[in-house]
Every structure is written in C-alpha cells, then in structure tokens.
Amino acid sequence: MNYIIKNAYVVDPINKISGEKMDIFVADGRITDEEPKNAEIIDAGGFLTLPGGIDSHTHICGTKVNFGRYMSPEDMRAGRAPRRNGMRAVSGYSIPTTYGNSYRYAQMGYTTLTEGAMAPLEARHTHEEFKNTPLQDGLILTLFDGDWGVMRAVASGDIKRAAALIAWRLDAVKGYGVKLTNPLGAEMWSWGKNVECMRKPIPEFDLSSAEYIKGVIEANEMLDLPHSVHLHCNNLGKPGNFTCTIGSMGLVPDLNPKRQTCYLTHVQFHSYGGTGWGDFCSKAEPVANMVNLRPQITIDMGQVMFGRTTTMTADGPMEFNLYRLHQDKWSNHDVEMETASGVIPVIYRRKNLVNSIMWAIGLELALLVKNPWQCMLTTDSPNGAPFVKYPEIIGLLMSKEYRDREFATIHPKTESRVVLPALDRELTFEEIAVMTRAGQARALGLIDRGKGHLGPGAEADIAVYPFRPDRLDPSKQYAEVIRGFAQTKYTMKAGVLISKDDTILADKQNRIFWCSPKVPEKYDMAKDPDLIKTFENNYSIRMENYAVDEKFYLSGSVKIETETRL
C-alpha cells in the first residue's frame, strides 16, 4: 500500500527539518521523493509528525519480565481491555502481556524497541516473547557481565579472543549488542558479595571491573558492531555512587566517529550523593557535566515516576539490597556462567523523600545535559516507571510551570537536596524528537537501516500526534502535549498503518535485528577447544543446542553482518 501523508508538521532532526509543513510520500514501505501512484491520502491536518519512536532501553521480553508476571498476579488486575476489532485482550500495568506492551507502544508512536538485557542462555524465551510483540522491530542486547570466557580472555589481555567470544555468542543467540550490567557483579553475587566500585580485582579471575569495561569496549569496537557497549555501571542505587559513575565515564576512550563509544543506561540510578539514606542527595550536576565534556558518551535518563511498578535487572545484589529495604516479594536467579538477575515490585511515593529526589534527578539529567543527542528519554521501563509514563515526562521537560506544580506536591525536604527548581530550561519539540527517536537511532546505529528519520529511502515508520505544535505553547498547554503524545492519530510502521486513534489495525509486523560479525577462520569459536570443553564440563546444555534457530524463533529477521578487525 502506498500513502501520501498530506499537510504534516514535520520535525526530523536527522534531516535538519524543524517544523516544516510538508507532504510525505510512502511507497513499498519506504519514504520516497516522488509522488507514488495509487496512493491512499492521509490528511495529517498540520499535526506534529515525527519518525517512529525508538526505545533504546526497556524491558519487555524475556525471562525476568515473565518472572515479574509470575510474581505479581495483582499487576494483571490493572490495564485490562477486552478483545475487540481484531485486537487481542490485554492486561497488566507495569508488566503487561506482550500484546499489551506492543499495543501501548504502538499507540504512543513507537516502532522499534530495545530489550535492555537478555541472558544468553534464556535467549529462546526472549525471542518467543518478541515473536508475540507484533508491532515493533526488536533489538536485543545480550548480557556479558559475568561471561567466564570473556572475563578470562580480558584478564589475560587477549582482547581479540574476547571479541571472538562476543561475536560467537551474539551470532548464536541472535543478539544485537553488548550489555554490561554491573560488570563482574554477577560473579561476585554467586559468592554472596558485590563488587565495590570498579578498581578492586575480583578473586579467581584477578580482574577489576574497570579493566573489564575497557576490554569489552575495545572488543566491541574491534567487531564494528552498530551499537556501542551498553553499560549499567557498578553500585546502582547506592548513595554516593556518582563517583563510581563518573569514574566509569572516565574509562571511555573516543573510538568511533559515527556514534558514542559507550552508552550509560538509567543514569538517574547512578547519580546519587550522600553517605547513606539520611543525607541522600542529587549529584546530577557533576554527572551531567562529565557527559557534556565527553562526546563519546551517551546516557539515558532512567526517570522515576510515582506509582506502582516492578524493578527487574541482571544486577542480583542490588535487588537483594532493595529486598532488605522493602521486605516484600523478591526473586533471584542465577544463569550458569553468564549472569544473574532479580525482580522486585516497588511503589515510588511522592511522600517519600528518597523517591522524590530520584524523580528530580532524572529530570535534572535531561535538562543539564546540553546536547540532547547525548541524553535519551527512558524510564528503564518498568524499573523507573512503565513506559506509558513517557508523555508525562515529555510534559515535565517541556514546561517549567508543570515541573513547579508537580514539585509542590512532593516531599517538602526535596528542595534542599536537588537543583531542579533552579533549572529554567524548557525543551523544544525538536529536542524531544532527538531524545525519543533520532538520538536513539544514532546511538543504536540504526540510521543506516533507515530508522529514526524521514528522509528518502528511510523506512516509513511515522507517528502523527494529534496536536498542532505551531498553535500551541507547550510551556503553558502542557496538558495538551501530554494528551497528544499519549495517543497518536496514526502510527505507521514500514509503510503499514498499525494504529489509528485507539484502534490497532495490524498484526505480525515485527522483525528482529541481530548482528553476526564476520570473524576470520582462526577466531571461529565454534571450533575453539576451550569453549567446547566449557560446554562439556560446565554447561547444562550442549553446544550444538545452544544456538537459537533463526527459522523457528525469529518472526522476521534482519541479519547485520559487520566487518571485523580481528
């Protein structure tokens, strides 16, 4: 089907279009220059039109998401909607069913999602859930935080071997990029301990997390992967952890001209000052300054919004600390030789000082990082808040008035611990477009794949939001902005209209993007005696059964082959 989207108010930062009324031509799933024949005309009526949204860090598919579902049957009592017009019945709020996730993202204009952490051994489950997330393309970041093979290779200084192991595993599990969650923390957690920041070497391996981060970054660049290393720093959620975060940022060299060299995720959880919960305060300012000084770093906010949600991460020891704080449900999981994980349901409350400060820190980061290409809008869904809160965050970032109004409702002592009330910056629609799609496309290396922009040749992922930006002052009419971003007029994915108003129109439009670095024969780990021995001795699964079958587990597959320097 071909389309002409008439009279659209286009904001497309990659092609430097900032609020131009124009027509968009869609033919065969791509955007073209020429007016297509037999096209259906969609009148955008001067509404804000953006490239399809991209979420660079969310948790929607995988074993730990599903374990969150097991643990919190009460979550399924919210967000229930019956089957209608070809849409399936959905339920759940912070950890909805896969179709619930897909429908809600589609209605917010999102067409590409990045699952933030997949344990390689649990890859099949993740792919099966992605198969049932029908309206978004999926990218899956693969956990390497406690991979014994890579750890040993980095410890012995053999970065090429580390790169080859990463290449083999990404290819086997159909992953897109490298995720480090609390590097080496999973290994220490299997001894009941955690790593203390990043300089102290862990026993058995004689490797510190600083060395490991540096080694993996180097290996990642050697493989020329489209995405950089995706780093969840050590010491998440501990008061005073900002020094560790800044230290980790200091480790990152500038190795790639096209994108960042390291992506630090949910930095809100890593920008805490103080020595304990008593004097807990915001250190967003030094962290944002460090980002401003280092163009090789991109961060995402990991904004916390008030309400009920579920935290889930591969950072097992952190979830244990959280359990001791909340004394509620807790799940803990160990993935042999690879990683760990934990899940806990939480409620963030306005009346709680710590939660109020966390809420402020996320916003401060987004406002203090000068270049919007370096700070993505996320909630680390569902850790900070479910992704359905994105429109509210956009409202908060675009309106000082709304921020002040919300600030008046949170814990009164917050003011002395944060800098948020002093920040006057109000983001523009262009900056929001960067933080929700263009910047994410650049950070994930998807611009070449035609994502994140509306130039000719790009994939026709288009979101039309039902308000006219030229007749609207977002700093005053923030309520309309929030309402507008919450539900698109039209969402199109690869030239297929997937949602109109509150109705989903399509099914089975999803693909998985995955990377297969081309490694020379010498570094083909499938024939590596050490790896074969590891599987024979230490894994509960045979090596030949480890790889995920492309045909059976992936609904649609885009294989990205990269040239390596091995």
Binding site: M71, S72, P73, E74, D75, R77, Q327, D328
Partner: protein
C-alpha cells in the same frame, strides 16, 4: 422496604457457573432487568431466577434480597455492596460479598471459596461451612480484608484470613492450613483447631482456642492469659519478618 425473592429456575444446568455480580441491593433497588452470565452466555436475571418483588424501596438500605434454591454455582453476589441485606437460604458460590463495604449478607447453608474477599466493611454471617480463602486477599495483593466482620459457624478451608489488614474474622469451627498467613492487622478468632497458622505475620491479633498442629518455630512465647474460660499461650511473631508486631494466642500446640 422492598423484598426481592429470587428462586433459581430448575432448568438451569447446575454445572454451569452463574456470574451474578448484579445481585446486590444497589443494582436491584433500581431495576430488575439486569444481565447475568450463565457459562459464556448472557441472560437476563428473570431467565435464571423466578423473581418476586414485594413493596417499594427508598434505596439500597431498604432493600432485602432473598435467594432460594441451591445457589452453589452462583458467584459474586453482593460484590461492591454498600448497604441493605442479602439472605441466602441455601448454599452460595464463590466470591460472595467481595469488596463489600456495608450491609449484611446472611448465608444459611455453606459458602464457597473467597467468601468476603478484600472486604472493606459490613457483615457476613455464614451458618454453614466456608471454603478456602475465607476473608482473604486476592492473588499477589498485599492487603486483604480491611474492615467489616465475617462470622462462620462451621469450618473454613485453607488460607482463611490471609493478608488480613483490618476487621474481624471469627470462625466457630476448625480452620485448614495457613490461617492468618501474612496477617498485617485486624483480628482473627478460630474457636476450633487449625494447622500451621500465621506464617509471615506482620501485625494484628490471632486467637485460636483449640489445638494447633505444626506450630511454626518462628514465634516467641511471651506469657499466658485466660480468655472466656480458655487458657491461652501468647506468642509474638512472626520472627522471620523484621520487626514483627503480631500477637498469636493458642490453646494448645504441637511444634512442627
């Protein structure tokens, strides 16, 4: 005063569940032609019950509903009820009186599972036995019954008063396993025996006049009292929880 008598029609298949959340004084004081589900089929109330209406109602408080016949498959009656009275002359099905915040439900026969689940106020009297999860919360929820009173003259099943947060659950007979599990407030009184009660108790008061089998080792004995002629041993717990405030009194016990 309006009295509505509902007599279950004999042609209704006793093996099909009837979802009848519309049988509550709020709804029936306004209109009678309400839908109920029989199995997966929507029907009108009058197709499922013979209905007899006497008198005029000023509102739900002046409405009395009487269910006649074997209603063991009729579910969710009195859901969200706030006032008025429901009398069940026989047995009643699952989820009777859930979320109710006022009024009275009197059951002459046995009640099904989930009697008075997540109730907020009001009173439920069951003259027979009640099923599992009597006066409890729902799956995964932290707070169960928050107020009101539930009296059961017979025995109750397992997980009675789980996550109890307020109000009173009074059982004259015996209880099954895990009565008062995860209690966070309120009062639980079991006059008969029970098995392994009050695990992970945070707060509240549980009293068991009878014998406790498999008593948990995580309770600390603090003394003895005599209540209504029963000599009871008093415990504090559950010590597996940080800073527990719960009180558990038992007649006799045998440790696990």
């Amino acid at each position: 005063m309006r009295r509505i008598t509902l007599i279950l029609r004999e042609e209704i298949d006793p093996f099909l569940p009837i979802e009848a959340e519309s049988i509550s004084p709020e709804i029936l004081s306004k209109r009678i032609d309400v839908p109920v589900y029989v199995g997966n089929e929507q029907k009108l109330l009058k197709d499922v019950f013979y209905i007899r209406v006497d008198g005029e109602a000023a509102g739900p408080s002046a409405t009395e509903i009487i269910l006649v016949g074997d209603c063991h498959q009729v579910k969710r009656i009195g859901e969200y009820m706030t006032d008025g009275k429901i009398i069940v002359e026989g047995d009643i099905g699952m989820h009777c009186g859930d979320f109710m915040s006022g009024g009275t439900i009197e059951i002459m026969g046995d009640a099904g599972h989930w009697l008075g689940r997540e109730m907020l106020g009001g009173k439920i009297i069951c003259h027979g036995n009640a099923g599992n999860y009597c006066g409890s919360g729902y799956r995964g929820g932290r707070k169960g019954v928050r107020g009101g009173q539930i009296f059961v003259e017979g025995n109750v099943g397992d997980y009675c008063a789980e996550c109890l947060f307020g109000g009173l659950v009074h059982v004259k007979g015996n209880a099954g396993i895990h009565a008062g599990g995860n209690m966070k407030g309120g009062k639980l009184l079991i006059e008969g025996d029970c098995l392994m009660p009050c695990g992970d108790m945070f707060d509240g008061e549980a009293t068991i006049y009878g014998h406790v089998t498999d008593f948990l080792p995580t309770f600390v004995q603090t003394g003895h009292i005599t209540e209504k002629g029963h000599r009871l041993t008093v415990f504090k717990g559950d010590m597996a929880h940080r800073n527990p405030k719960g009180t558990l009194r038992v007649g006799s016990f045998e440790r696990i």
